[in-house]
């Protein structure tokens, strides 16, 4: 319990590292001689010297309760109530509040103060959590004083198998500082339990995923896109197939949070890529109740179900980014969600013309799901810089590449029907006389990413659930 301040008298909040506080040290000594003065010191209990009543506030509890934003702050109390306050050194203001003992002879008439330690970045949230009302609605989970909070999260089933960041109040408050949306706003109903998910729950899971507060607008945008009925998140969770949500971010938001679209873009090592994708999966797990072996019935799953998120490389002005291709205005940020199995590497180090590379890519893309199936899911093609350069030097833009690949991905049905090529798997016999498209007309999503060296691209197969186009598709949403 902190010591109660006198009902009447002067209080000065100061810190030794503040030049203005040091400047007014003689004034504080003068005021101490003149009447009841309490100095609350934020960083050095020995500062100021020559003052009788100095209270150590290194824990910043008094500064928090007095709502101190800058030091020195001079406050006058009468009858237990604050009746006047001034910030920094201002002779006129100090003498108005404290009389001639505060004249500070020889000092300049005015000098601004310094920021209070209680409002330094990240400190205020910690102080609210410690001394104030955090205003959080989620129930508190006590953890034994000697228990490891990370282990406590594991024991309660809140983890995807990797350690999570324990969701303490101060971390949650910092995370909520990353959005101007209210904590109690419901973002949507999370499958499979269709549980209401508030912005606060998003923040808690974003903390656990390892997000920084500035990722919050992206995380919220990703979640809203995932809840688009056309994305069929429930089905994606429940499927026995490999698939999980793939998150592709376009626009300034991706650059603002430092997402990786270059070297190892689909791999590890970038915090934003890793944690934004993970946050979505933790929300589905924790809020929606989608647990592997429970409603998640994947036969094998894929490593991308921990997290699968990257940004598109938009550095080439000739390239139409994926989000613009899918209807988002240029300059806006957007998320595209795709039902993705794992990454299938595509190697072609011999093609030198767009036509050669198109034929070659079509061979790789035709293997998605099964080389004899055309309803086993769409695909994302991640074009690396070196493969893209072949198209660009040939004068092909995104639309041309899409059109040419669509044509190259047609096959005679007779080659694909049951039993053809000695393989039972395949299309119905009724398709024998038809020319069949591998993917739906807009079913191949092309995105640019990757490091500068390597004639490799990535094929990311989709989910058979996409075969009913009216019911299930990749979705693209603007990030607000």
């Amino acid at each position: 319990m902190i010591e109660v301040l006198p009902a009447d008298g002067l209080v000065i909040v100061a810190k030794h590292e503040c030049h203005t506080c040091v400047l007014v040290e003689p004034v504080m000594q003068s005021l101490d001689r003149a009447g009841p003065l309490t100095v609350i010191t934020q960083d050095d209990p020995a500062f100021p010297s020559g003052v009788g009543r100095v209270l150590d506030d290194q824990q910043l509890e008094r500064s928090f309760h007095l709502n101190i934003e800058a030091v020195p702050t001079l406050i006058r109390f009468e009858g237990g109530r604050e009746v006047g306050r001034t910030v920094g050194w201002d002779r006129a203001e100090w003498t108005r509040l404290a009389g001639e003992a505060a004249a500070g002879e020889g000092l300049p008439a005015w000098q601004p103060g310094c920021g209070s330690r209680s409002v330094e970045p990240g400190v205020q949230e910690a102080l609210i959590a410690r001394y104030g009302d955090p205003g959080l609605a989620s129930r508190e989970i006590p953890v034994g004083e000697w228990d490891d909070p990370i282990e406590a999260c594991f024991e309660r089933g809140w983890s995807d198998g990797l350690p999570v960041v324990p969701p303490t109040d101060e971390r949650i408050l910092r995370m909520l500082g990353g959005t101007d949306r209210k904590p109690d706003e419901i973002v949507g109903l999370i499958p499979p339990n269709l549980a209401p998910c508030t912005v606060e729950k998003v923040a808690i899971n974003a903390v656990m995923a390892g997000c920084k507060p500035e990722y919050m607008p992206v995380v919220l945008g990703v979640l809203e896109a995932a809840l688009d009925p056309l994305f069929v998140l429930h089905g994606l969770l429940c499927t026995t197939h490999f698939s999980g949500p793939l998150v592709i971010i376009n626009g300034p938001a991706a650059r603002a949070v430092g997402m990786n679209s270059g070297v190892n873009a689909l791999g590890q090592g970038n915090r934003a890529n890793a944690t934004i994708g993970r946050a979505l999966q933790l929300i589905v797990r924790n809020v929606g109740g989608g647990l592997p072996g429970g409603m998640d019935r994947a036969t094998l799953g894929n490593p991308g179900k921990y997290t699968f998120c990257f940004a598109e490389d938009e550095s080439d002005p000739d390239w139409e980014p994926l989000a613009q291709r899918r209807g988002i205005a240029a300059g806006k940020s957007a998320v595209t969600l795709f039902h993705a199995e794992g990454v299938h590497g595509f190697i072609d180090q011999k093609s030198r013309t767009p036509e050669e590379l198109t034929r070659s890519l079509a061979m790789g893309l035709f293997g998605v799901g099964h080389p004899k199936l055309c309803d086993s899911g769409n695909a994302v093609l991640v074009l690396s810089p070196e493969h893209y350069r072949i198209f660009k030097e040939g004068g092909w833009n995104r639309r041309r590449i899409e059109d040419e690949l669509h044509q190259a991905l047609k096959r005679p049905g007779r080659d694909l029907i049951h039993g053809a090529q000695g393989v039972p798997e395949g299309l119905p016999a009724s398709m024998a006389d038809k020319i069949v498209d591998k993917f739906q007309p807009d079913g191949l999503l092309i995105v640019r990413a990757g490091g500068p060296a390597g004639l490799f691209s990535a094929i990311i197969g989709g989910w058979p659930g996409q075969r009913v186009r009216e019911e299930c598709q990749a979705v693209t949403h603007e990030i607000r």
């Binding site: 959590a129 410690r130 959080l136 989620s138 129930r139 508190e140 989970i141 006590p142 953890v143 034994g144 004083e145 000697w146 909070p149 406590a152 999260c153 809140w158 324990p166 969701p167 303490t168 109040d169 101060e170 949650i172 999370i190 339990n193 549980a195 209401p196 998910c197 729950k201 808690i204 899971n205 656990m208 933790l282 924790n286 809020v287 929606g288 109740g289």
Partner: protein, 98 residues
């Protein structure tokens, strides 16, 4: 008190809060038929005596038992012991004190 410890003593629930904060204890089995009961000696004095008597009663009742023992009563059981019990038995009786 160490501040870090204080801070880590309270977390917020990331779930939809449809389950209680404390997990319910497993319901006792309706029957011991076919079950193996682990008899765990934590190393306190006379704990083995207590377990000997219990073992006799279980044997009379036709219930299989297996004996386990912590290396020391001053530390929690090593994971290997707990994993062995979980793999070999369905119920456990622990002789907690002397």
């Amino acid at each position: 008190m160490n501040q870090v410890m204080t801070h880590s003593s309270k977390l917020r629930d990331p779930t939809a809060e449809t389950s209680p904060t404390r997990r319910a204890r497993l319901a006792p089995p309706a029957s011991l038929d076919g079950k193996v009961v682990a008899l765990m000696d934590i190393g306190k004095s006379r704990g083995s005596e207590f377990l000997d008597r219990l073992e006799g009663h279980f044997k009379t009742a036709g219930v299989a038992t297996k004996r386990y023992r912590k290396p020391t009563n001053t530390k929690v059981a090593p994971p290997a012991v707990l994993q062995t019990i979980a793999a070999e038995a369905q119920l456990a009786v622990i002789a907690l004190s002397d």
